[in-house]
Symmetry: C2
Subunit: 478 residues, 2 copies
């Protein structure tokens, strides 16, 4: 009766015949039909019935399902719960409470009985209703593409999929199928009495829409097919670029490659930001204006930070873009920082001194042959420097900055600059400044690692006794 | 009053102030508002009014618009047409006829007056209605993403864009704006009396939907924003892969790189096929089942051809996938073929002989030094061959195949094979077989160019007098 059902079961739902499928059976036509279709196709099944205890007839219906299973010698499991009490204690709508308890039961049984999947009887009509419901509430492609033949619901189980083999069958067809197979469904499936919005859609709105287009349901069904194909291509594209852009993903923040991201189209940028936001705030749908704010921010290189939504902010640091919660403990490992609780340390030459995050300062004394001058003064790594040891005190100091610090950068003709201005000019991210290590001699800053030495003690062509300082990166950054 | 209108005019509609914008003004609140917004923003405008002659008041409204333009000293152009007559003679609905004639007028005037764009007053309400109309009729992402701020309508003009600056303003806002700017719109814009479905949506369906969600219009508007971003990313992705897959595009067929396409996801395959189909049949929306058939075909390497839709078919030839109309004159240039009307030709050595499509056969007589044997017998290009001249008749023949042709392929231990089976085994596309050139001597096929020589006259270690045949490709294939 159902075209291609064998292919759908095998290729779309990815079911195999070696392990049981747990079928949720309410006793209505859809779920009874599903049970019988699976049975006739040769799958091992277990019938699972959840009694919502919401209507007088509920217990009788439960018994009816049990009898059908017994007659067909199908294993049967049942559970009942006071859905209305659970709804009240958890401030949920009856519909949400019923759904949560039902799926919790189905997946618990599937785990216990080693089932490969939980199967439910959603039909093409349910699909149309779901999509329409999403549309009325406001949604994006993810909502409009509707339900899938096979999906994982992580809140119920990370591995066992939910499958919906009847998604392309209309409700009328399940009714006819039951009749043809001598199954007697009850006609007030518990869903109907619980989900008021869905009932109103089904019984009032869809008939109204059918006055505009008698084939309205088919039209939506085709739209869904087409959007599912679009969604899968879009998802591939975003997955691919997400991987390329992602530097680091933590529970409180995401670091993205800003230089790459800014070369992307605005649409793609927004999708990448959306993925970052939704990874940090699961279950949250990101509204368009937030994404628009994000892409405007990316475009404007002068801006440093913008608030996104729900405490999340977006900010740039050099080539990195952060999406972070307000409580995020952002990584400092890619910068040298003075150890926490140690604002200064004495530096003797030679020696090696631990900073935080695996960084360290090494100091070595050298005698420089005349010919090496040019080579040593060629600045290659900003985290190393050669200084003239002549007149340099034996004891130096590495410390955090202090209010009013001045610095005389090499090559600025003796111009004294506020260290704070120097940091701004060099675009050192503000949060890195507070504990940035500064090498000092006799109260003067003689080297700002990563940037520049000072004029004092600078290497000269005549220098012979020299000190070589280098900041060593943690091994994993090399 | 309208947030960001300057940015929308500049960045979304891409208007500049150096050339006029032709504004379609019906006299209703939306178009009057648009006119005034553009004027106040400092753009040069021309007011264009099209009188549909559909209602009694039409002429009065036309005069009212002219007066407003005169009062504000804006250039004014007008045209009227008997829309109902045009509709009848062209079997169009009144709405289609009105739209066609109106846009034809607007773009003709824009061309004549050197306008940079045609601007129309579509609002966020029109957007919601349009999307809903598409949804009810059945659509895909292209329909659901709604109208754009700036678009090209190739049937009216290939260069001048249609812009819709008010797409994010609600109709109430245009009414309020007119009131605030002392403009008196007439309240039965001609659209209303023409487009019955749209009116029913506006006045009945949307109010019904607002009983489900009072913010229904805003919900759809947000959905549209989100789908537009999705659509742009999807379009980029498809554009990129289309370029990679496309071998040749002709008005009657498209040739795609099958080996690349078959590595793509099913969703992407369907999009590529859709682009091919819609390129061959412009204006046609491809239904999902057609795309499904196409991707199933691509997956099944044993299948050679499938019908798609409206006379289009899909077929494979080696690494090429064709989407072609039934009348397509497919290219043969990449194969050697006997000239049309010339089923055989005599071949003398040496000589050069023209085949069709720029191919030719060259025959040369050589004396082979002993040491060259190994090199000559190493088969590198299947379109060249060395044969032993000993016993070879002076006159050879190049001809098309004949019923019952047999062939004794080199290296098959003298096994005689039907030529038709040989072609099948070698996977020569059927349409190439009929005029494939065969080199014959004394009634026997001695070489199938592109594949194999026969046992007879094969080159041996003792061969000294040899003939070198080669099929030369047209220059553009080298």
């Amino acid at each position: 009766m159902f075209e291609n059902i064998d292919l759908i079961l095998r290729d779309r739902c990815k079911l195999d015949k070696s392990r049981p499928v747990l079928v949720g059976v309410s006793g209505g036509p859809d779920s009874l039909c599903l049970m019988e279709v699976l049975r006739q196709a040769g799958y091992q099944i277990i019938v699972a019935h959840f009694n919502h205890k919401l209507r007088e007839a509920a217990d009788l219906e439960s018994i009816a399902v049990e009898r059908v299973a017994a007659r067909l010698t199908i294993p049967f499991v049942v559970e009942s719960a006071e859905v209305s009490i659970y709804a009240e204690t958890n401030s949920l709508s009856l519909e949400e409470a019923a759904r949560t308890l039902r799926y919790r039961f189905l997946f618990a049984q599937a785990q216990r009985l080693n089932a490969q999947a939980v199967a439910v009887g959603h039909t093409a009509d349910d699909q149309v209703e779901t999509v329409l419901m999403h549309l009325i509430r406001g949604t994006g492609l993810t909502g409009l593409k509707g339900m899938s033949y096979r999906t994982i619901l992580p809140i119920f189980d990370a591995d066992i999929p939910l499958v919906r083999p009847l998604l392309n069958a209309w409700r009328e067809e399940t009714v006819a199928y039951c009749a043809a197979n001598s199954l007697k469904p009850h006609y007030d499936p518990s869903n109907d009495s619980v989900d008021f919005l869905r009932n109103r859609l089904r019984n009032m709105l869809i008939p109204t829409l059918e006055t505009y287009n008698p084939k309205f349901r088919e039209a939506i069904w085709r739209t869904v097919q087409s959007l599912q194909a679009d969604h899968s291509v879009l998802k591939e594209t975003i997955d691919e670029h997400w991987k390329k852009c992602l530097i680091l993903q933590d529970k409180d923040y995401v670091t993205l490659d800003l230089s790459r991201l800014s070369r992307y189209s605005v649409g793609l940028q927004r999708h990448i930001i959306r993925r970052a936001v939704e990874g940090l705030m699961p279950g949250q749908e990101t509204v368009f204006s937030v994404l628009e704010r994000a892409s405007d921010f990316i475009k404007d290189a002068r801006r440093v930070r913008v608030n996104l939504t729900g405490g999340l902010s977006l900010f740039r640091e050099g080539e990195a873009l952060y999406v972070a919660t307000s409580s995020a403990d952002l990584p400092f490992d890619h910068w040298p920082q003075m150890p926490i609780q140690k604002d200064r340390m004495e530096i003797s030459v030679p020696g090696k001194f631990e900073l935080s995050g695996g960084w360290s300062l090494s100091a070595e004394a050298w005698r420089l042959p005349a010919l090496a001058w040019e080579q040593a003064s060629r600045k290659e790594d900003p985290f190393e420097v050669w200084l003239d040891a002549e007149g340099l005190p034996a004891m130096l100091e590495l410390r955090v900055r202090r209010e009013g610090d001045l610095f005389e950068p090499l090559g600025m003709q003796g111009h004294l600059q506020k260290l704070s201005d120097f940091f701004i000019n060099e675009k050192l991210p503000p949060r890195a400044r507070g504990r940035w290590p500064l090498l000092c001699a006799g109260g003067k800053i003689i080297w700002v690692p990563g940037f520049r030495p000072a004029e004092s003690y600078r290497l000269q062509q005549t220098s012979r006794r020299v000190v070589y300082f280098s900041l060593l990166r943690p091994r994993e950054l090399n």
